[in-house]
């Protein structure tokens, strides 16, 4: 494993007018790692996520991917470097079929013939082969989340960023999503932003807790659960 971290941020800041959304965030992720980011609403999780994907240009600080500075680059550059991005609200080609959505992602990376094969395998892997002809716009929310997952992994990115992949899902669907993410982690590093603690417990190895735009602590899930400050700030309110 090369010593250079897969993804690193150096005192990343973001100010919207008066709001200081992210404060001097230093974050490191190594190859193949699965990291979860949790924190109450408004803790800066999504802002941090958008700074990584280039959707938001940071006020100051750096974002490095394999040592290469990608701070505030054009939004399509991270994807070309091998970062797969799934946004909070499923964003798909609604007018096109599931097959076409996944094929489009594959065809950017692979030549024509290989792309067809990758598309078939990816749909197989995510279990959507039976739905490949249906139009994504007309599908249920849970299914659309999985289609988006398939679209992201079809391009075989080395790092996948997922923003609340389990949002709006039934327990049984959450269970299946967790298995999927673990299976994906066999070949791809992942960062999952989520605030559903039961889901976190199913998949997490390391957890980073955000609070008011800064990293409060980074630890294994159980340790995070029992950390008094985290409880007071985050779990305490919920538990009471």
């Amino acid at each position: 494993m090369s010593t250079v971290p897969l993804l690193e941020t150096r005192n990343l800041n973001m100010r919207f007018g008066g709001v200081h959304a992210t404060r001097d965030v230093n974050f490191k992720l190594s190859d193949g790692e699965l990291r979860c980011i949790i924190g109450p609403n408004g803790a800066g999780k999504s802002t941090f996520f958008k700074q990584l994907t280039g959707q938001l240009r940071p006020t100051s600080g750096q974002v490095l991917f394999r040592g290469q500075d990608i701070t505030g680059c054009q939004p399509h550059v991270p994807a070309r470097l091998g970062i797969g991005i799934k946004t909070q609200v499923p964003s798909l080609f609604n007018g096109l079929s599931v097959w076409e959505n996944v094929w489009l992602s594959a065809c950017r990376v692979y030549p024509k013939a290989k792309a067809l094969e990758v598309t078939r395998d990816t749909l197989e892997r995510v279990g959507l082969s039976s739905l490949q002809n249906s139009t994504t716009g007309l599908m249920a929310h849970g299914q659309r989340q999985w289609v988006e997952l398939a679209v992201v992994i079809a391009a075989d990115p080395s790092l996948i960023l997922l923003d609340e992949p389990a949002a709006g899902m039934s327990d049984q669907e959450v269970r299946r999503t967790a298995d999927l993410i673990l299976e994906i982690n066999k070949s791809h590093a992942l960062i999952v932003v989520e605030h559903d603690m039961s889901f976190i417990r199913m998949i997490a190895k390391m957890v980073t807790v955000f609070h008011q735009g800064a990293i409060l602590t980074e630890d294994l899930p159980d340790a995070v659960m029992n950390n008094p400050t985290v409880r007071q700030v985050y779990l305490g309110k919920k538990a009471a």
């Binding site: 399509h76 946004t87 139009t135």
Partner: protein
């Protein structure tokens, strides 16, 4: 059958019909009607350029008349100066294309929303109209071709067989040239749409953000589509200047832009065949109105546009597609029309 998979068959079918029509028409039509049909075909090429950039690439361009006019003027000015028409025809494609590239870069790399793009393209065509309209003075000339301002450039030499400037195309040969160009462009666009680039362009229209997150630089693809649309419209302009051997600033006018939009809306946004049929139908209707004094042409065009936007928003062809589908009850989970 989703939008992509059924396109090869319908494309081949339409092109076959086109070729048959092109060969049959000159046989059973007198030469006046042939000249009339030629202008319909030329305008159909313009309609296709608008259908491609708006229907498939999602670029709301209200100023397609600028490239159309630029093509006509470039051809007129260069053929008067050069005599031989082959290079002027190429120029009439390249220059509008280049202008589309510059204007497209100016707009797409500026994060403009659709509405602003519509207004800017409309304003650009007005800039062309006002500027060319005020070049009537003798000092406005390029080489020995006066720009002519409001009265335009009369008696423009027509396209000649490459090599000898004397042997110019007669109306029949010009009809064949325009018709086969239309068919070739139609085929080319359908091939492009079913190719990888085409898929990406359509995907960008569907959801630009997702396409960007997949690593496609949406701006570059849109610029490519916009430039291609500019070239096709330029060629249509060149044929238009050739057809009437005349061109004037009214080619850039608001009314010309409005007509192009009406053709695509009436014909069917999101298809290529629709606007061709819409264009020919409207052209025929406005000419008929001209010979009858009963209705005012603006009134009829206005009613058509309002009725179609309210009642038949998808245009003739897609609505026909729906009707046929309901009649024959084909079990098709059809998302967007091809």
């Amino acid at each position: 059958m989703t939008a992509f998979r059924d396109s090869p068959w319908s494309a081949v079918l339409v092109m076959l019909l086109g070729v048959m029509a092109t060969l049959a028409i000159p046989k059973w039509v007198d030469d006046f009607a042939l000249i009339q049909i030629t202008i319909y075909v030329v305008m159909a090429i313009l309609a296709i350029s608008q259908a491609f950039i708006w229907g498939f690439s999602g670029i709301l361009c209200f100023g397609q008349a600028s490239f159309f006019g630029l093509g006509a003027y470039t051809y007129a000015l260069s053929v008067i100066n050069m005599g031989e028409s082959t290079l002027p025809v190429l120029l009439a494609i390249a220059l509008p294309g280049l202008f589309a590239l510059l204007l497209g870069y100016f707009m797409f790399y500026g994060r403009l929303s659709d509405v602003y793009m519509g207004v800017i393209t409309l304003t650009v065509s007005l800039i062309f109209f006002n500027s060319v309209n005020s070049t009537a003075g003798p000092e406005w000339r390029i080489g020995n071709a006066p720009l002519g301002g409001f009265n335009g450039i009369p008696s423009i030499p027509s396209i000649n067989y490459p090599g000898n400037p004397e042997d110019t195309l007669d109306p029949l040969a010009f009809f064949y040239l325009s018709a086969f160009s239309l068919i070739a462009i139609y085929g080319g666009l359908r091939w492009l749409i079913s190719s990888r680039i085409g898929h990406v362009i359509v995907a960008i229209k569907e959801n630009e953000q997702r396409a960007t997150l997949l690593g496609f630089d949406a701006r570059a693809f849109k610029l490519f589509a916009f430039t291609l649309g500019g070239c096709i419209a330029g060629l249509a302009g060149c044929f238009f200047a050739n057809w009437g051997s005349f061109t004037s600033p009214t080619i850039f006018s608001l009314a010309q832009s409005a007509q192009i939009i009406v053709w695509v809306i009436v014909g069917g946004l999101g298809t290529l065949v629709g606007p061709i049929i819409g264009c020919m139908a409207i052209q025929w209707l406005t000419t008929q109105i001209g010979t009858q004094q009963t209705f005012n042409s603006n009134l009829v065009l206005g009613v058509i546009l309002v009725v179609f936007v309210l009642l038949v928003p998808k245009g003739i062809i897609p609505s026909l597609g729906d009707v046929l589908q309901k009649l024959f009850g084909k079990k098709v989970t059809k998302g967007e029309e091809a």
